[in-house]
């Protein structure tokens, strides 16, 4: 059911781990729903020079974390903010519909980490464009 790319990022996750004195940290999800993602950023001159993640969750959640960190590494904060869940899913060569929320989680994790950095540095946090939140709405078709 998963693409080869998803399986690759799941079996060989990139940037897994922790940055002990990260410049920004974002945590999203909740254990009751079965997924938590934590993103750590090192920022130098507005550029993400290092990023790591820790994830409790399914294969898609782990692969999304891995891919998302790859996508934002070396980017400016503005560029990283624009990395959408769709971009993550596309880079993974697609996610099953019921797993799209994992990519949303990754986007939200990055946003949280960036805003954590901005707040710590006395900047206004950026606003979410709205729209999706971590939801399972597409699953209500049950019987």
């Amino acid at each position: 059911m998963y693409s080869e790319k998803v399986m690759d990022h799941f079996m060989n996750p990139r940037n897994q781990g922790e940055i002990p004195d990260a410049d920004g940290v974002g945590e999203v999800g909740n254990p009751t729903c079965g997924d938590i993602m934590r993103i750590f950023l090192t920022v130098k001159d507005n550029i993400i020079t290092d990023v790591k993640f820790q994830t409790f969750g399914c294969g898609a959640a782990i692969a999304s974390s891995s891919m998302a960190t790859e996508l934002i590494k070396g980017k400016t904060l503005e560029e990283a903010w624009e990395v959408s869940n769709k971009a993550v899913a596309e880079a993974l060569e697609g996610l099953p519909p019921i797993k799209m929320h994992c990519s949303v989680l990754a986007e939200e994790g990055i946003h949280k980490a960036i805003n954590d950095y901005r707040i710590k540095n006395g900047l206004e946090p950026w606003e979410e464009k709205g729209g999706h939140t971590h939801s399972h709405d597409d699953l209500t078709d049950e019987e």
């Binding site: 897994q16 079965g34 997924d35």
Partner: protein, 390 residues
């Protein structure tokens, strides 16, 4: 090691089915010779099924599987007895074939009580007794649970219902070939079974209806199955079911004690070698091949993927694997917090599993759990907290 999900069809069963596809292909309802052979093959299979569960052949009706048997039993009994009452009792840990059918019946004017279970997954007779009203027409409690393997006190429930004149159905889909079943001794009125759980083919099952028990028809149409279940008979499937069930109940004690012993070795190793792990379900009143454990701090689907990569088939009660919002209703019903339910793993051993399989599985599970915990923020936090407390 996922025999509760389905089993491979035994090659001997396939062999027995083959002639009924292309050579003896008659429609059993027709009159001519070819058809009479099919008819005889069906009656032969009916006898085998009856023998396996202590029933009479005329009490066995073939269906398209466990789901149809469950739907038929519940809807058929409910609508047939509607005039006597509209209350049905079942348990909170039934298979969806029962639970969703009950929800359907609730929409059609019936009231359903979902009995809670204890921490090991067993229904308490006191709860059943307290739930019965003078409107209660049907009790449906599964023989053994497909996720945690817990066996219910079926003879007690059967005796209780028979005394009160309440129909008793049991979903025994997980049980055939694992535990002895005797519908007469156990006072069972209706029983569902499905061939693919005991090395028979998929898409064929049976419903036992005790003689004298009248339930409404479910599939309406031609006069097959003594006018109780319409549809051209799946002759190869029925033949396969007959052969499979006969094999399944032969030497039951010998086969299952071997599987039980293997399972116990695996369980002990897992519980001893992997910290922060708990057993789900009952320690002894459980299906011989079933093992269900929760590993804290990790999620089950990702564990399944790693095990699949190592060639081990398993299943989990995590929501992420089923595509639904909630983790397994069974694990929640025995009181597991959602996050622990998400970290559950079910293995079900079958006859072909060996000691080597078990050792290999344990090693791979250990590796996979360690690997996933290493990337889990929950586990990292737990380690930090623990080191602070030391």
């Amino acid at each position: 090691m996922d025999h509760s999900a389905t089993t491979a069809t035994d090659p001997a069963v396939v062999e027995a089915m083959l002639p009924w596809f292309s050579i003896n292909y008659g429609n059993p309802s027709s009159l001519y010779r070819l058809a009479r052979d099919s008819k005889a093959a069906i009656e032969d299979a009916r006898k085998r099924v009856a023998n396996a569960i202590g029933a009479k052949p005329e009490e066995i009706y073939f269906t398209s599987g466990g789901t149809e048997s469950d739907n038929w039993a519940l809807k058929g009994a409910a609508f047939a007895l509607q005039k006597r009452g509209n209350h049905i009792i079942t348990s909170a840990i039934e298979h969806h074939a029962i639970l969703h059918t009950c929800q359907y019946l609730e929409k059609h004017g019936f009231q359903v009580t979902y009995l809670p279970v204890d921490e090991f997954g067993q229904v308490r007779i006191e709860d059943l007794r307290a739930a019965v009203t003078d409107k209660t027409i049907l009790v449906s409690v599964m023989f053994a649970n497909n996720e945690i393997g817990t066996i219910q006190p079926i003879p007690e429930i059967g005796a209780f219902c028979r005394e009160r004149g309440i129909l008793f159905h049991t979903d025994a889909v997980q049980v055939i070939g694992n535990l002895p079943v005797d519908v007469a001794a156990m006072n069972i009125d209706l029983l569902s079974l499905s061939a693919h759980k005991f090395y028979g083919p998929k898409g064929i099952g049976a419903l036992y209806i005790r003689k004298g028990v009248r339930i409404d028809n479910y599939l309406h149409g031609g006069g097959q199955e003594h006018r109780k279940r319409a549809g051209t008979e799946n002759v190869p499937g029925i033949v396969g079911l007959g052969v499979a069930i006969e094999k399944a109940v032969v030497d039951l004690e010998v086969k299952t004690s071997r599987i039980r012993a293997l399972r116990d070795v695996l369980l002990d190793r897992i519980l001893h070698e992997i910290p922060n792990t708990r057993l789900n379900g009952h320690r002894t009143m459980r299906l011989p091949g079933n093992l269900n454990v929760s590993f804290e701090f990790i999620e089950g689907e990702s564990l399944l993927l790693l095990l699949d990569h190592a060639g081990i088939a398993a299943s989990t009660g995590s929501a992420c694997s089923s595509g639904s919002l909630e983790p397994s209703h069974v694990l929640l019903a025995i009181g597991l917090p959602a996050e622990v339910a998400h970290g559950s793993l079910r293995l079900t051993l079958g006859v072909e599993n060996t000691q080597e399989d078990v050792n290999y599985a344990c090693d791979e599970i250990k590796k996979a759990v360690e690997r996933l915990r290493a990337m889990s923020p929950l586990y990292v936090d737990y380690l930090k907290k623990r080191s602070c407390n030391v």
